[in-house]
């Protein structure tokens, strides 16, 4: 083994024998002076430390943005309610009843209710805080199962039902041929009759209700906002009309007329939106699907044995995941982002630190 000192001396002695090009030292310094005087500064490469800091800062910013976004998304979520139930479930039925009673709309009744409306007090117009009328857009989907050959007859009776509650049939379609006859009808009834109509549809008179889902969206604030904006615009329009009558020159007249046209256009747009909201909240929508009980209506056969166990296990697993996501809020997303950025940073660091020899 050669000692370190010996090797140092050996290399030093050998290096002295390396021929340095004549005049190279002087030329090098001169060229440095020339280069520095004529060439702009060399582009500075980012050091590893800077790269790491920038990556960490970017990760923090992304996580912060994601967290803020999650918070804002949660706070801005529209006030809406939704229930979904399967007929026969006492809890879901109770929820449906509770909703029908508490979220009863205030839209003016359009016509006399049928005899069945007297059976409940639900649908009585309510008022929001401050006495302002509440406007709720209500939708319901109901699946009915009827005896063989009764699909067409049931659809016809449903049309009669809509008329009986002062409503109308918005759309309908049926397929009465084949092995699984079925049909769908969309009914619009005054919201004041919503609870009564729902009761009638699910009471068993028209068939066995196999599934019910309902949703209600409070558009009171939106409606009131439109009204306020309309009032302001109408005031502006009146002002412009006054100015128009006082205009002395053609230029003034044209300018005011242009403003007036703009305001009028905005008023018409808002009125159309307000009318759409009013229509939606005046009349509830029922989408009723009718199918035969024995047909392949998509109703799954009850699971048993291993199939049931596997199905239950999968449901529990997905349910657990949903629970985890729901309770973690933005934290889980933030952790995932941090993991992704961390992995990317680690890979980048390895590339930067790649050994030379």
């Amino acid at each position: 083994m050669i000692t370190e000192q010996a090797l140092t001396e050996l290399l030093g002695a050998a290096a002295d024998e390396i021929h340095v090009p004549a005049g190279a030292s002087g030329r090098a310094v001169e060229r440095v002076r020339d280069d520095v005087a004529t060439v702009p500064d060399l582009p500075r490469r980012w050091s590893r430390r800077v790269v790491i800091r920038v990556a960490a800062a970017a990760a923090v910013v992304v996580v912060a943005v994601a967290g803020v976004g999650a918070v804002i998304g949660t706070s801005n979520s529209e006030r809406s309610t939704a229930t979904s139930s399967t007929a026969g479930s006492s809890s879901s039925a109770a929820a449906g009843q509770a909703m029908a009673g508490s979220a009863a709309p205030v839209a003016p009744e359009k016509g006399a209710a049928g005899g069945t409306t007297s059976s409940t007090g639900q649908g009585t117009p309510g008022t929001a805080d401050g006495g302002q009328d509440r406007r709720i857009v209500k939708n319901a989907s109901i699946s009915l199962s009827v005896s063989d050959g009764k699909v067409g007859d049931t659809l016809e009776r449903l049309r009669t039902l809509a008329a009986g509650y002062g409503g109308f049939v918005q759309a309908s379609g049926s397929n009465l041929s084949g092995s699984s006859p079925n049909g769908t009808v969309t009914l619009r009834v005054p919201v004041a009759q919503y609870a009564a109509a729902r009761e009638a549809l699910t009471a068993g008179t028209y068939g066995k209700a196999t599934s019910i889902s309902e949703s209600g969206s409070d558009v009171t604030a939106q409606y009131a906002d439109l009204g306020a904006r309309l009032t302001a615009l109408q005031t502006s329009r009146q002002t412009y009309l006054t100015m128009l009558s006082n205009a002395k020159t053609v230029g003034d007249t044209l300018a005011v007329q242009q403003k007036l046209d703009d305001v009028q256009q905005q008023i018409e747009q808002l009125q159309a939106q307000q009318k759409l909201l009013a229509d939606s909240s005046d009349e509830a929508t029922f989408k009723v699907t009718v199918s035969e009980a024995g047909a392949a209506s998509g109703q799954p056969q009850p699971r048993t044995g291993f199939s049931k166990a596997a199905h239950d296990a999968w449901d529990n697993f997905t349910g657990g995941l949903q629970w985890l996501v729901s309770i973690s809020g933005g934290l889980l997303i933030a952790l995932i982002l941090v993991a992704i950025f961390g992995l990317a940073g680690r890979i980048a660091l390895r590339r930067i630190r790649r050994p030379i020899v």
Partner: protein, 195 residues
């Protein structure tokens, strides 16, 4: 300000031979060594305000040259396959000594560089950085992106391989009176002579 620049120019000019030789031993190519030193000098000049004072000034300069050389190695991996050819670019420096003594020095240098050429690059670079440039093991580890323990191991392996070179072993024995820790095996051949 101008005097400082003049002083720096003189100082760099005086260090050019050692910088060039350092770059040459790392790159083993004259033109590349000249380019690398040139680049390093430009960098030194641009950052002359941050040059440390005292003894650290010279070490800092060699670090710049070493980093520039290693950057060249990193960016031209394909070229590194031509190590054998590059080694032939070595030229003996003209000496004012007696012809016999000059011949001895030249032969020693030829044998040393041939022995270095016989080392794989993973061993040769740490040897040059440690025993010619004078970097510590930790500094070498930082420079080449390895752990200090790896550098230490490689230096040990390099010295072990160089010890097998009978010419170097006999030179060390003759000049230092026993610079070898272990006697050479009788069957060792002069690997350098055959390269």
């Amino acid at each position: 300000m101008k005097e400082a620049s003049e002083e720096l120019g003189v100082w760099l000019e005086a260090r050019y031979p050692r910088c060039f030789r350092t770059a040459w031993m790392l790159l083993r190519h004259r033109d590349d060594a000249q380019e690398v030193v040139q680049d390093a000098y430009v960098r030194v000049w641009r950052f002359r305000d941050s040059i440390p004072d005292g003894d650290g000034r010279e070490a800092w300069l060699y670090r710049v040259v070493v980093n520039a050389s290693l950057s060249r190695l990193r960016s031209e991996r394909r070229w590194r396959d031509r190590d054998g050819d590059a080694a032939l670019a070595w030229q003996t420096a003209p000496q004012a000594d007696e012809p016999e003594e000059q011949a001895t020095r030249s032969e020693l240098a030829r044998q040393v560089f041939a022995a270095l050429a016989s080392l794989p690059e993973s061993l040769r670079v740490p040897v040059v950085l440690r025993y010619y440039v004078g970097l510590t093991e930790r500094e070498i580890a930082t420079a080449i992106g390895r752990r200090p323990g790896t550098v230490k191991s490689r230096l040990y392996d390099a010295r072990a391989q160089l010890a097998k070179n009978s010419y170097l072993a006999s030179w060390v024995n003759a000049t230092t009176g026993g610079g070898l820790d272990l006697p050479l095996a009788s069957g060792d051949e002069n690997e350098v002579a055959s390269t």
